[in-house]
Subunit: 205 residues, 2 copies
């Protein structure tokens, strides 16, 4: 009795519902919006979806998403081999590149250790950091300032201490990206944890 959506519509709604942050209502809205698009635009959208994996690779050195292997950063001999920056995601790498303050190399983990989501060190590109430490003088761990990011930073630090020969471990500087108040923020509205970190990380003027 009750009217039902055509199968082609409900199946596309299901696809959109699987995306993170897209609920049933927004999935419906998106699909009915697409229904008013001409067919060639849907075809273009479909082609680009398929091209996403087909035309990209993960760089075999830093695991960044790239068109070439090695990626343009790993391939760029002008970049400083002595600094290696560990990030969770390719978007984090891009954000750091935009800051124009880092000229070293990267290592993309593709996530952070998160036991609740069944993500352990083996689900990440984590252990092969060890193979890249030969020319590195400073390892900057730029995982997110979250529970998962902090645990990952600790895990990497411990892993290196336990795996490297003592003299190499001693000469390697491991740093964590600075935490504190973001520029433009208001101390009045900062949360306690951030303020505590900002005080710990204070520097002489």
């Amino acid at each position: 009795m009750a009217a039902k959506l055509p199968r082609a519509v409900s199946r596309l709604i299901e696809q959109f519902e699987r995306l993170p942050g897209v609920g049933p209502k927004s999935a419906q809205r998106l699909v009915f919006y697409l229904l008013h698009n001409p067919e060639h635009q849907l075809q273009e959208f479909a082609d680009r979806l398929v091209a996403l994996k087909r035309e990209t690779v993960l760089c075999s050195r830093c695991h960044n998403v790239s068109e070439t292997d090695p990626c343009s950063i790993c391939d760029d001999t002008s970049r400083d081999e002595a600094q290696l920056c560990v990030v969770e995601q390719p978007l984090d790498l891009l954000a750091i590149e935009r800051s124009e303050r880092f000229t070293g190399r990267y290592h993309v983990l593709h996530g952070a250790i998160s036991p609740l989501n069944h993500i352990g060190p083996d689900q990440l590109f984590l252990h092969d950091i060890l193979k890249r430490l030969e020319p590195v003088e400073e390892l900057i761990i730029a995982t997110n300032p979250t529970m998962e990011g902090e645990s990952t930073a600790l895990y990497i630090t411990e892993l290196i201490k336990q795996s490297l020969p003592p003299e190499q471990a001693a000469s390697l500087k491991i740093t964590r990206i600075g935490h504190g108040l973001p520029i433009g923020a208001d101390i009045e509205y900062a949360d306690g944890v951030t303020l505590a970190r900002a005080l710990e990380g204070r520097r002489q003027m």
Copy 2:
């Protein structure tokens, strides 16, 4: 110098950005989420996008999205031909069907009159309502209680009065769906316009 996203990634981000309510940041998040999906799932998503228009039609009578023409509601002889309900979108039709209180036929406009968005009566399935009024005793206008929905309701009422022969127009009842407090709402938090409409629409107990 600055690292750039692979073309396949940035082009898919562009596609997602075109969707309503999806900003640049969420488009990025969605694409990097998809990047971790296996290729066959992307292919399935792509296939369903293409199937959306290919496997659906607009019913030539009510303009609802359907697999068949006429759609299952227009084709259902048990439904009451004397009541015709005008809605803006197919999702509105579905919502009314879910209420299980309406057994008549529908007419889907696919939008509402909105001069700011360059949508006039000619961009909607509006004038062909006139051709469907022959068996209709009551026309229920269930466009949204927004500026656009109200103007569309007024336009339809005027159009019918001016187009139908006086005796047919006089015998046709045109009604607007009731406005007032939604069930479960709190009078304390209701806005003034809704309360005004609720008072106007009061009924004897």
